[in-house]
C-alpha cells in the first residue's frame, strides 16, 4: 500500500512537470484555435518534448530522490517512458500528416524552414535512440560506444526539438512564454552538464587505487580498491556503484558493479566481477596500482532496509551472488544469528563463485547453503536443474511467509522465482530483486 501511494505521488509529480508548462500557455494572449485535431497534435508535440526532457533527470542519478525506489527501476522507467514518449511524438506528426498535410510544407530541407527540418531530424534521432537502446545487445553495439552516442544523440535531438518549438512559435508568441519554454528546455539540457561535468569533477576529489585483482572461480575476479586521501564509501549491504578504472571520470567509461565486501568494514572496498560483457572481459587486464573512481552507492536491494525481518532467504544465480555475498559478509560481521537460507544456482560445481567462503560463513552464521547445479558432477547428491517449486518447498522453513526474500540472477530466473514464491503465499512486499541488463 505504501509503495502504491508512493507510486501515485510520483506519477502526479511527473504529470505536473510534463503538463503544467503546456497548460500555462492557455493564459495570456493565445493564438486562434486551429480545430481539435490541430491543437491536439500541437499539445502532443509540447508534451513529447517535456517527456523527453524529464528523461534526462531520470538518469541524472540523484541519489536521495531515487532512494525510495532503487535506481535500477528508475532506469527501467526511463527505458519504458522513452518508448511511450516516442509514441506521443509520432502521434504529433501523424495527426498533422493525415489531418492537414499542407501545413507540413516542403520535406526537402533546401525549401523547408530550418525549424521544420529540425523537427523532422529530431523525430528520426529520437527513433534511432529508442531502437538502438532496445536492440543494443542484438545489434552487437559496444556499451561504451552506445553510451556516448546515446548521450550526444539525446542532447542533439532535444535541442533540435526545442528549436522546432520556438521556431514554429505556436502558443509561444509572447516573450514570457518563449522564455518559459526555452528555459524549461535548457534546464533539462543543463542536467547533462551536471551529470557529465559537475559529478565527475566531484569524483576527482575522492579517488581510489586498485590494490589487488584476485582471481575467483567461474571466470570471475575480485577487484579490491583502497581509498586515497579519504575515508571511503559508506554503503548498505547489497548496493552497487559505477566504477571507472584507469580512465578519467569524465571519460564516460564507467560501469555499474555490485559491492562484494562487508558494509560493516569501511575503507577497503571489493567488487565481484564476472567476465561476460565487453567491458568485464577487458577489465580482467586491470593491474594493481591503477587509479579508480566510484560513483555511488546506489540501489535498494539490501537487508538493511528490512532489518526487522525474522530471517532472510537468498536466491542467487551465477554472478548474482555478489550483492548477496556482501549481505552475508555484513551479517557475519554483525554476529547476526537469524535464520538464513541461500539457494545458489550454477552450471558447474567448479565454477561456483565464493564456494569455499560460503562454507566458512555457514559456520559463523545460522546459514543453510543449498547448491543447485545444471550440470552436476558424477555422484552429486544435491539439487539439480533450475529452481523449482519442489526445491523451494524442500528447503524453505515452515515460517517461510514471515521471511524476506532477496533474488539476484538472470532475468528469467528472477521472474520464475518471483512467481513461485507468490504461489507459495509469500507477499510481494517481502520479495526483493535487483534488475540487471538495463540496456
Amino acid at each position: 500500500m505504501k509503495s502504491f501511494q508512493a507510486a501515485l505521488l510520483w506519477l502526479s509529480i511527473y504529470l505536473i512537470v510534463v503538463m503544467a508548462p503546456l497548460f500555462v500557455l492557455l493564459f495570456g494572449p493565445t493564438p486562434l484555435p486551429g480545430g481539435f485535431w490541430w491543437d491536439f497534435a500541437m499539445a502532443l508535440g509540447f508534451a513529447a518534448l517535456a517527456m523527453m526532457g524529464v528523461q534526462f533527470v531520470l538518469t541524472a542519478r540523484f541519489r536521495h530522490a531515487m532512494a525510495p525506489f532503487g535506481i535500477d527501476i528508475i532506469y527501467y522507467f526511463h527505458r519504458f517512458l522513452a518508448v511511450f514518449a516516442f509514441v506521443v511524438l509520432t502521434l504529433h506528426y501523424l495527426i498533422i500528416r493525415f489531418d492537414n498535410p499542407a501545413a507540413l510544407g516542403a520535406l526537402n530541407p533546401v525549401d523547408a524552414p530550418a525549424y521544420m527540418s529540425a523537427g523532422r531530424v529530431a523525430v528520426v534521432l529520437f527513433g534511432l535512440l529508442v531502437v538502438s537502446s532496445l536492440t543494443r545487445r542484438r545489434l552487437g553495439i559496444e556499451y561504451d560506444r552506445w553510451r556516448w552516442t546515446h548521450a550526444l544523440g539525446a542532447t542533439l535531438a532535444f535541442a533540435l526539438a526545442l528549436w522546432h518549438v520556438v521556431g514554429t512559435g505556436y502558443y509561444v508568441g509572447t516573450q514570457w512564454k518563449q522564455i518559459l519554454w526555452t528555459g524549461y528546455g535548457l534546464f533539462w539540457i543543463g542536467l547533462i552538464g551536471h551529470v557529465r561535468i559537475i559529478r565527475p569533477w566531484q569524483l576527482l576529489s575522492n579517488p581510489y587505487r586498485v590494490s589487488e585483482v584476485r582471481r575467483e572461480r567461474g571466470n570471475a575476479f575480485t577487484l579490491v580498491l583502497e581509498p586515497e586521501g579519504h575515508a571511503g564509501m559508506i554503503f548498505k549491504p547489497g548496493q552497487f556503484a559505477w566504477l571507472t578504472v584507469g580512465n578519467s571520470p569524465f571519460s564516460l567509461k564507467e560501469h555499474p558493479f555490485s559491492i562484494a565486501s562487508s558494509a560493516a568494514r569501511t575503507g577497503t572496498i571489493e567488487f565481484g566481477i564476472k567476465a561476460v560483457g565487453d567491458f568485464t572481459r577487458s577489465a580482467m587486464a586491470v593491474q594493481p596500482g591503477q587509479q579508480a573512481f566510484l560513483d555511488g552507492p546506489y540501489g535498494v536491494f539490501s537487508t538493511q532496509r528490512h532489518h526487522a525481518a525474522k530471517g532472510y532467504v537468498f536466491i542467487a544465480g551465477g554472478v548474482g551472488i555478489v550483492p548477496i555475498m556482501c549481505m552475508l559478509r555484513t551479517l557475519a560481521d554483525n554476529h547476526d544469528q537469524r535464520l538464513l537460507v541461500l539457494l545458489y544456482g550454477n552450471r558447474k560445481w567448479d565454477r561456483v563463485l565464493y564456494r569455499e567462503e560460503l562454507e566458512a560463513l555457514a559456520t559463523r552464521l545460522n546459514l543453510v547453503v543449498v547448491h543447485i547445479l545444471i550440470e552436476p558432477p558424477e555422484g552429486w547428491q544435491g539439487e539439480c536443474g533450475f529452481v523449482t517449486q519442489d526445491i523451494l518447498e524442500r528447503h524453505l522453513p515452515a515460517n517461510r511467509c514471515a521471511l524476506h526474500y532477496f533474488i539476484c540472477g538472470p532475468s528469467a530466473m528472477t521472474q520464475t522465482v518471483d512467481s513461485l514464491l507468490a504461489a507459495l503465499g509469500v507477499r510481494s512486499a517481502q520479495i526483493h530483486n535487483e534488475l540487471f541488463e538495463w540496456v
Partner: protein, 143 residues
Amino acid sequence: MRKRLAEILAALSAIIVIFLAAVFSFLHNAQVRNDTLINTQQVMPQSQTSLHNALGRNVYNKLGCSGCHSVGGQGNPRVPLDGVGQRRSPEELHDWIIAGESVRPQLSASVVRMKQSYASIPEEEFQELLGYLTSLRVPSEQQ
C-alpha cells in the same frame, strides 16, 4: 514485479498525457469556437473556387506558405487566408507578404525575417502570388 510496475506506470503516464493533451485542445477550441471555426467553414467553398489561379497557387505552395497559413482548411489553421482578398487591398497584401514597414510592428522578429526573404523572389512570381491572394474572397463577394 518492480519491473512490471515501472512498465505499468510508464504506460499510465503516457495515456494520461495523451488525455490531457486532448483536454488542452478542447479547452483552447472551446474558448473561441464560435468566432473562428464557423468562419473557416463558411469560406471553404470560396477557397476551392480560387484554385483557378493556378500559377499563383504554385508560388504559394513553393514558398511553403501553408506552414503558417491555411486556404480552404488546408495548411496551418492559425492564420486563415480565406477572404483575404476582400479584407486587404493589393497594396496592403504586398506589405503583408514582405513584412513592409506598415505591418512590421504586428509581427514577431522571426516572422519578419522570413517574410523579408520573399522580397527577393522574381517579380513575375510575386505578382502571381499577389493575384492569387487577391482572388481569395468570401462566397457572397464572388461573381
